[in-house]
């Protein structure tokens, strides 16, 4: 017993933290990918997360099948990402770094308000798919099956991303473009097509995070902004641009939030900022360094 809380509930909460962290990881990787290659901080990332949840809801109403919507949503948000990159972000390349930030900030307003206009201001519940409902006995405690599913799916996605970036030709081009885009263009590789793709992958990841989170937190127009801020905290702590940084920082912050909620429920919303302030004071360049990467 620690502070009146039993070990089994502590371990359950640690698992919960892992699951919360996994959703952060998906968002932070998308942000990092887009930023790394294009030096665009996508302030609409939270809006894409929200849009993903709504698209999932829409597909569930349409087909009644969770698995179909799990495939459909990243495609839909990815395609929206393509369109956004092509028509709004592309004219800004070469200008000051602040302009894409401002633009995507405006875009998030447009997306949130469009969703309000179409689906209304009140939220919706998102049913857990029946195959994943109910608890699983982990031996020491019961744990919701759906949350284990989220942990596993995210781990698979992260593995495939790692494989894609490290072991394929396209991944090689993306990594090279992140390091020195001028040199890649000198080698006659058309990076503008890769930008297009990476923006789509990043927003697609945000979308799938949205549909994965929907059964746990419901679907409403303002769900994106809190997620965006938490993803920013992960990125500030873990550093923009590294997969490992995003994974470790994401899980760490998930645990911090989850454990604090167990002991001081009131502080659950606030602790993430305190944590970030401490990291900034102790290690201003984030836990894994990489200061100077376009700071």
């Amino acid at each position: 017993m620690i502070g009146g809380i039993s070990y089994s509930s502590l371990i359950t909460q640690l698992f919960m933290g892992l699951q919360i962290g996994m959703v952060y990881v998906l968002l932070a990787i998308g942000l990092s990918l887009i930023f790394g290659l294009m030096t665009v901080v996508n302030f609409a990332h939270g809006a894409f997360f929200m849009f993903g949840a709504y698209m999932g809801l829409f597909m569930m109403a349409f087909t009644g099948n969770f698995w179909v919507s799990l495939i459909f949503v990243p495609l839909a948000t990815g395609i929206l990402g393509f369109v956004v990159e092509k028509f709004t972000v592309r004219p800004l390349y070469g200008r000051d770094l602040n302009y894409p930030l401002l633009l995507t900030f405006g875009l998030s307003f447009v997306m949130v308000e469009s969703v309000r206009l179409i689906w209304g201001t009140t939220g919706f519940a998102f049913d857990t798919p029946s195959a994943l409902a109910g608890p699983v006995n982990l031996g020491f405690a019961l744990f919701p099956r759906y949350r284990i599913f989220v942990i596993v799916v995210t781990a698979i996605i992260v593995f495939f991303l790692w494989f894609f970036l490290q072991k394929t030709n396209l991944g090689l081009i993306i990594r090279a473009g992140t390091r020195d885009s001028l040199m890649v263009r000198v080698l006659r590789i058309d990076l503008s097509k890769v930008w297009f793709l990476v923006f789509g992958i990043g927003t697609g990841l945000a979308g799938i995070a949205g549909v994965l989170a929907a059964p746990m937190r419901g679907v409403h127009p303002d769900m994106g902004i809190d997620m965006l801020i938490q993803a920013f905290v992960v990125v500030v702590v873990g550093g923009m641009g590294s997969l490992q940084g995003a994974v470790i920082a994401g899980i760490l912050i998930g645990e911090v939030v989850s454990i604090t909620t167990l002991f001081y429920p009131l502080m659950g919303e606030v602790v993430i900022f305190i944590f970030m302030a401490i990291v900034l004071l102790v290690r201003p360049s984030g836990l894994f360094g990489e200061a100077g990467l376009l700071e």
Partner: protein, 332 residues
């Protein structure tokens, strides 16, 4: 032809160029008669308050080149600082305003110190995150005092004594407008002084090239921090006036959409121009006023217009006009 002929102001070009070169005086003049130009007085008061807010924001975005997404925090600290002290401490009106501004400056001090530990894009993310911290503090942690979601209601507005008699500034919309106008005009003069001082020049040098101003011997981090404080000061003053005007400290003054309003107003009007933030505030609020007659999602249109401005007119309305006038002068 020995004597240089005095500059003529008889033509339109002359009047326009006079206003552009002494834009702060022109701005005060326009604000002095604003309630009689716009459709109704309430909107003039809003333009005044949010113009002041955006002007404070512009110190950072327009003159120092720092993109903050968390200015709702200082506006809201002003609102809640003034509101809480008027409700619980029963202080006088000016003391309440002072406490609101002090709360905002203190908040800006702390958050500015932390956010300036990182630069560039990280700065933008940190300001958004810490901005939202104050929202959650008011919503969840201190909701016994702040009223949580409902906001702090029924803020008393004590009468002020002037020439031996007491009178209430919220008796009529116009009396509040001119009460706020005095603060706003003083702020404009102070702002003008700051920007035309050597300190203002250093700010703009940081915007143009931070490394170079560092090698000129300026402690740019310190300068940016002071700019952050000034910015928090004006934002907090705007927030305090907001609390008194509505007799309410609304929770959404702390929400990120309020930071967004400052960003949008400043960019729409013209960042880095003196008059731009007020022009932006006016345009933003008039768009809101017109469109919300037809639909509640006016922010959709404001957001879309904002995106068009970022792509096609990044200098904003006033900045583009200034450019046009300059071009016109050159042609003559």
């Amino acid at each position: 032809m020995g004597n240089p002929s005095p500059q003529k102001f008889s033509t339109w070009a002359g009047i326009v160029s006079f206003l552009f070169t002494r834009s702060y005086l022109g701005l005060i003049l326009v604000l002095a008669i604003l309630p009689f130009i716009v459709p109704y007085e309430a909107i003039a008061t809003q333009i005044l308050i949010f113009g002041l807010f955006a002007m404070g924001y512009n110190i950072l975005l327009g003159y120092t080149g720092l993109l903050s997404f968390g200015h709702a925090a200082y506006f809201g600290l002003g609102t809640y600082g003034a509101g809480l002290s008027l409700v619980y401490l029963k202080v006088g009106l000016f003391t309440g305003l002072l406490i609101g501004v002090a709360a905002a400056v203190l908040g800006a001090m702390g958050v500015g110190f932390l956010c300036l530990k990182r630069r560039g894009i990280y700065f933008a993310m940190l300001t958004l995150a810490f901005g939202q911290l104050f929202y959650f503090l008011a919503l969840v942690v201190f909701d016994n005092y702040t009223g949580g979601d409902n906001g702090l209601r029924d803020i008393p507005v004590p009468p002020i004594s002037f020439a031996g008699s007491n009178f209430s500034i919220i008796k009529s919309p116009l009396s509040f407008y001119y009460f706020a106008f005095i603060f706003c005009a003083l702020s404009i003069l102070i702002m003008h002084r700051i920007l035309n001082s050597p300190f203002g020049a250093v700010l703009q040098s940081i915007r143009e090239n931070e490394k170079r101003s560092q090698s000129c011997g300026y402690n740019t981090n310190r300068v940016k921090w002071i700019a952050f404080l000034f910015s928090g000061f004006f934002s907090g003053l705007a927030g305090s006036l907001h609390a008194i005007y509505y007799q309410l400290a609304a929770l959404n003054t702390l929400y990120w959409t309020n930071s967004g309003a400052a960003v949008m107003m400043t960019l729409l009007g013209g960042m880095g121009t003196f008059v731009g933030p007020f022009v932006g505030a006016g345009v933003y609020l008039l768009i809101e006023d017109v469109i919300s007659v037809f639909t509640t999602s006016w922010q959709l249109f404001v957001g879309a217009i904002f995106m068009l401005f970022v792509i096609f007119f990044p200098q904003g309305i006033w900045g583009t006009l200034q450019e046009k006038v300059r071009f016109w002068h050159l042609r003559e």
